[in-house]
């Protein structure tokens, strides 16, 4: 019976959790092996990212930032999964996944320049293994399979991790990327941050599948659904996925989370498709509140530490914005120069013409 098969499959995808909403450990056996300093570092990153998100939103409203997709609510999902990676691992982000690439080494001022559409924002520094945030939904997923294949071919002990939202899981590329990685035993991790809405469309209306994680079954790869508001759970499943990936077994991670803000700052009004009750319900599951409580109970966190991070984040953002402002404005000649290794004659002429104009 088909129905029974689905039930059997779905019963395997119970949401994995370590810390509950109250910051209590509910799955002691699964506690990852993290030192006190590491736990504090994770909290540091979440607080820092929350502050940066708030600043980015107001900078956007002031017209000082361009395209921005808010991240509040998804800090555990983003930072927990990222913290399980190694420096040499490759990240293929979606447009919301700027925190992971910044924590992976992209300077903050370049993230701001990316938002402003300045070409330097896309010039990823040598040794920072990221692709620029993908705009087209799902396109990064097939590319991740290719990056993973390359890593395997070169016998690197590294993985490719890619991020999309629940909406991305409806694209053909999503299935094709997973299937490809599975077929070639490529070291890939596919993270779907199920933040409940593809712009306005609720996840229940996007698929008959009860979980996104179960879509891994069709591709023959590992699948896990995890509480994306629980940073320890996110870290733990990604750490496991990484080990499996190095063993030629890709994983699909469905992180169940929520975006508090609008889809992007380009005119989205979430009140058109979300209720206040739903917002409130999710805010109770906030990843910062529960992890803060967990750390406070262990005497690893207090108000003073929190304020230090807030102050540092604010200072860094100020500095990064200054650095972005101080970056020379892009000129037409820059655009010609950066596009070609060796300029064709006609563009050489244009370049000289523009330089002449710009020098006046």
């Amino acid at each position: 019976m088909a129905t029974k098969t689905i039930e059997q499959v779905e019963s395997h995808f119970e949401m994995f959790q370590i810390l509950n909403e109250n910051g209590e450990v509910v799955n002691k056996d699964a506690m990852p092996d993290l030192s006190d300093e590491q736990l504090q570092e994770i909290m540091h990153r979440m607080v820092y990212t929350r502050i940066w998100d708030q600043r980015a939103i107001s900078l956007n409203r002031q017209g000082r930032l361009g395209f921005y997709a808010p991240v509040a609510g998804q800090e555990a999902s983003m930072i927990g999964s990222h913290y399980a990676l190694e420096k040499e691992d490759w990240i293929l982000p979606g447009y919301r996944d700027v925190p992971q690439v910044v924590w992976h080494g992209l300077p903050l001022y370049q993230a701001f320049l990316y938002s402003r559409g300045h070409f330097h924002g896309g010039q990823i520094p040598e040794g920072v293994n990221i692709l620029p945030p993908q705009i087209i939904i799902g396109a990064q997923i097939v590319q991740a399979a290719g990056v993973a294949l390359g890593l395997k071919r070169r016998h690197k002990d590294n993985v490719a991790i890619t991020y999309t939202g629940d909406g991305g899981a409806s694209q053909g590329d999503f299935y094709e990327g997973m299937n490809f990685a599975g077929a070639y035993e490529a070291p890939a991790i596919f993270v779907v941050q199920n933040n409940q809405f593809a712009i306005s469309v609720p996840v229940e209306e996007q698929s008959a599948a009860k979980t996104i994680a179960q879509k891994a079954v069709a591709a023959g790869i590992h699948g896990v659904q995890v509480d994306g508001m629980d940073i320890l759970a996110m870290y733990s499943v990604t750490e496991t996925a990484r080990k499996n990936a190095l063993n030629g077994e890709p994983t699909l991670i469905e992180s169940v989370c929520y975006r508090y803000g609008p889809h992007t700052m380009a005119g989205d009004d979430p009140t058109r498709y979300r209720t206040e009750e739903l917002d409130n319900e999710w805010e109770k599951k906030d990843p910062l509140i529960r992890f803060r409580k967990f750390l406070e109970d262990k005497d690893l966190w207090n108000e003073e530490k929190e304020n230090e991070v807030v102050d540092q984040a604010k200072a860094d953002i100020k500095e990064a914005i200054k650095q972005a402002d101080d970056t020379p404005k892009q000129k037409a000649s820059d655009l010609i120069e950066i596009m070609y290794e060796k300029l064709p004659q006609n563009l050489q002429e244009q370049l000289e013409e523009y330089r002449e104009k710009e020098s006046k």
């Binding site: 361009g66 395209f67 402003r116 559409g117 705009i135 087209i136 939904i137 799902g138 909406g167 991305g168 409806s170 694209q171 053909g172 593809a198 712009i199 306005s200 469309v201 209306e205 996007q206 698929s207 058109r272 498709y273 892009q330 037409a332 655009l335």
Partner: protein, 341 residues
């Protein structure tokens, strides 16, 4: 952008000023009230009302079965529309940004355009794919393109590119009634433009150009937002004593060759202007058509084309503007044509 200079081809009694977006919504709603087989599908077209608000209020009137809010699956949206069309439904797809046509291309090119031919005339694909196109909104490289030449190249697809609210309304009705797949481009900058539009339903046949302004010195064939720029240029050129005729083909496929050829025979000079990249753009097709026609003998100046530079659409607003033809470029091209410079 007020389009008061545009000669509306409609003289219906009950008109009121509405926007292009409202005109599209009105055409859709009227067709859906009239014909139960018409339904719409696309991303965020439900309570959200679509990325540009075109379908706002429609799910409340027609319900979620006829206003299908879809997953993010452009290939499936288009393929499903084709499937339903083959069985007699009349789907109207909203493809959120026309740039995403890349993801729907197999369904459009190898399926929608070919099915009737390959099934020996046994099937129809009466679908419409509406999609916002064009630059000018700061939406950057992957959300601002004008790729209409791609679909215009494929036999089996019809391509509509209206420039005004009243044209959009009448052409959309014709597109829905057409038994062939029709790609219906809506320029984002036009959504908020207003003009008087008749309330009752009416049809503007596909394949009829509109002379938006009559003139004797030079013909400007312009599409979508460029129609408005050409009309503005024409007003200014009149002050310089240059009398411009502006023609909006309204549909690229089928193309009303006669109206264009007749105009060129009258003026002896022609400029073709579109927002799409000039290289490989549909303007090349129009220019070639003129050169191959009887209008060739009447030409007093080379056919001129204006289009965007061959670059990705910049995010920077100044560069974005610099990429595509502006009114001054059109004016200069007209002067050059008239004075043979």
């Amino acid at each position: 952008m007020q389009s008061s200079a545009v000669n509306s081809s409609n003289n219906k009694e009950t008109t009121r000023s509405i926007t292009f977006a409202e005109a599209v919504r009105e055409a859709l709603s009227q067709e859906m009230r009239e014909d139960q087989d018409v339904f719409i599908l696309g991303e965020d077209i439900g309570v959200y009302g679509g990325a540009f608000g075109v379908t706002r209020g429609m799910i409340e009137e027609f319900g979620p079965e006829r206003v299908r809010n879809t997953p993010i699956s452009e290939a499936a949206i288009t393929g499903a529309a084709i499937g339903s069309a083959l069985t007699g439904m009349k789907p109207v797809v909203e493809l959120q940004f026309s740039d995403f046509i890349t993801i729907a291309m197999d369904q459009l090119v190898n399926q929608a355009a070919k099915l009737r031919y390959m099934y020996g005339g046994k099937g129809n694909v009466p679908m419409v794919l509406r999609t916002p196109s064009g630059s000018g909104t700061g939406a950057a490289a992957q959300h601002s393109q004008s790729l209409e030449a791609w679909v215009a190249h494929v036999p089996g697809l019809k391509v509509v590119q209206p420039s005004t609210a009243s044209d959009a309304k009448g052409l959309l009705k014709a597109a829905i009634a057409d038994p062939n797949p029709v790609i219906f481009y809506e320029h984002k900058l036009l959504y908020k433009t207003q003009e008087h539009v008749p309330e009752e339903a009416y049809t503007i046949p596909l394949g009829e150009a509109d002379v938006k302004r009559e003139g004797t010195d030079v013909t400007i064939v312009a599409t979508a937002v460029m129609v408005h720029k050409a009309l503005e240029a024409a007003e200014k050129l009149a002050e310089e004593g240059i009398d411009v005729e502006v023609i909006d083909p309204r549909t690229l496929v089928p193309l009303d060759e006669k109206t264009i050829v007749d105009s060129v025979k009258k003026t002896g000079r022609v400029i073709v202007v579109h927002e799409a990249v000039k290289r490989g753009g549909y303007g090349g097709e129009i220019a070639s058509m003129i050169a191959e026609s009887e209008a060739f003998d009447y030409l007093d100046a080379p056919v001129r084309r204006l289009g965007a530079l061959p670059i990705p659409v910049p995010y920077n607003p100044a560069l974005e503007k610099a990429m595509v033809p502006q009114m001054d470029d059109i004016m200069q091209a007209a002067r050059d044509s008239v004075h043979r410079r």
